[in-house]
């Protein structure tokens, strides 16, 4: 269909560094601007989903780089409490994150790819965003938020990396409690 032809495609290859998160939000919002009827609330959803996906991809790349330098046993979760004030910084040699944002008449498709170790079983089970468990843990809200806000989420994951593709549809205002 002619309406499916992309009106904007942007691809970024960025270092696994949280300083680039603000840039990712600006770029996906600008690309979403190619869908004139996309509601502001959907652009906000897209910025949040992009931020969560980029952060996950960055951490996956950090884990792989750490595994390479310290062996697989040290390649576990990133611990933020060890540097509570400074911006989290990944190890030297972390692979880049590739972000592809594609807008067409139906909405925006965002793909974020890393070269991390791939998703494990724990990564695939997440309680809903309003689960009471969320008040116990300070982390782990990212993937439930992605699942809640995006209209479609696909993970293509293997030992060489994970590629997450989400679709944010042009469907008007989302549910809001305000």
């Amino acid at each position: 269909m002619a309406s499916d032809a992309p009106t904007a495609v942007v691809e970024l290859t960025l270092p696994s560094d949280p300083r680039y998160l603000a840039l990712v939000r600006v770029v996906v919002a600008a690309t979403a601007g190619a869908v004139p009827s996309l509601a502001d609330s959907r652009v906000a959803d897209l910025k949040l989903v992009a931020t969560e996906l980029f952060a996950n991809a960055m951490e996956a790349n950090w884990r792989s780089a750490r595994s390479r330098s310290e062996g697989p046993r040290r390649g576990g979760r990133v611990e933020y409490d060890t540097h509570p004030v400074a911006r989290p910084v990944g190890p030297e040699g972390s692979a880049p994150v590739v972000v592809t944002c594609r807008a067409d008449a139906s909405g925006v498709t965002l793909t974020v790819s890393d070269s991390g170790p791939g998703l494990d079983a724990d990564d695939e089970v997440h309680p809903p965003v309003e689960d009471p468990e969320r008040l116990i843990h300070e982390r782990g809200l990212g993937i439930p938020l992605i699942q809640y806000l995006a209209d479609k989420v696909d993970y293509d994951s293997g030992p060489g990396g994970t590629s997450a593709t989400v679709f944010v549809a042009d469907r008007g205002e989302r549910r809001s409690g305000t």
Partner: protein, 131 residues
């Protein structure tokens, strides 16, 4: 974007209303609420700094903590995690966290996660609490 954090102890703006509907129930040794005005985006790059500031204030004895998000246009899951953790720490020592969040993207995120039913929220620094 850099995150700017401004901490004040003056509670004149709040007209003495601190904490939840019972206003003033929380006893802060300083006698006033501590207000932290946040300016910027809160994501994985900046949330460690926010957490550190708020935890330091609790450690220093602040029990009535008001975090003003009026000038925050973006919060991600790590920012929500900071608020969840600070609320838990504060309640453990008999304190209370109040958020100032006007309508907008951040307020919508609190609604989506139903955290707006958990946190004490004001629409503006001078408005009464809603919960």
């Amino acid at each position: 974007m850099e995150l700017s954090l401004t901490t004040t102890r003056a509670d004149s703006r709040l007209d003495g209303r601190v904490g939840g509907p019972t206003g003033g129930r929380v006893r802060d040794p300083t006698g006033t609420a501590t207000i932290v005005e946040v300016d910027g985006a809160i994501d994985i790059a900046s949330s460690p700094r926010l957490r550190s500031r708020l935890v330091d204030l609790i450690d220093e004895g602040c029990r009535a903590l008001v975090v003003d998000f009026t000038r925050v246009g973006f919060v991600d899951s790590t920012g929500l995690g900071v608020l969840i953790g600070v609320r838990r720490r504060l309640r453990a020592v008999g304190g209370e966290l109040t958020l100032v969040v006007p309508p907008g993207e951040v307020r919508d995120l609190l609604a989506v996660t139903e955290l707006d039913t958990i946190f004490t929220i004001r629409e503006s620094a001078t408005s009464p609490t809603e919960h």
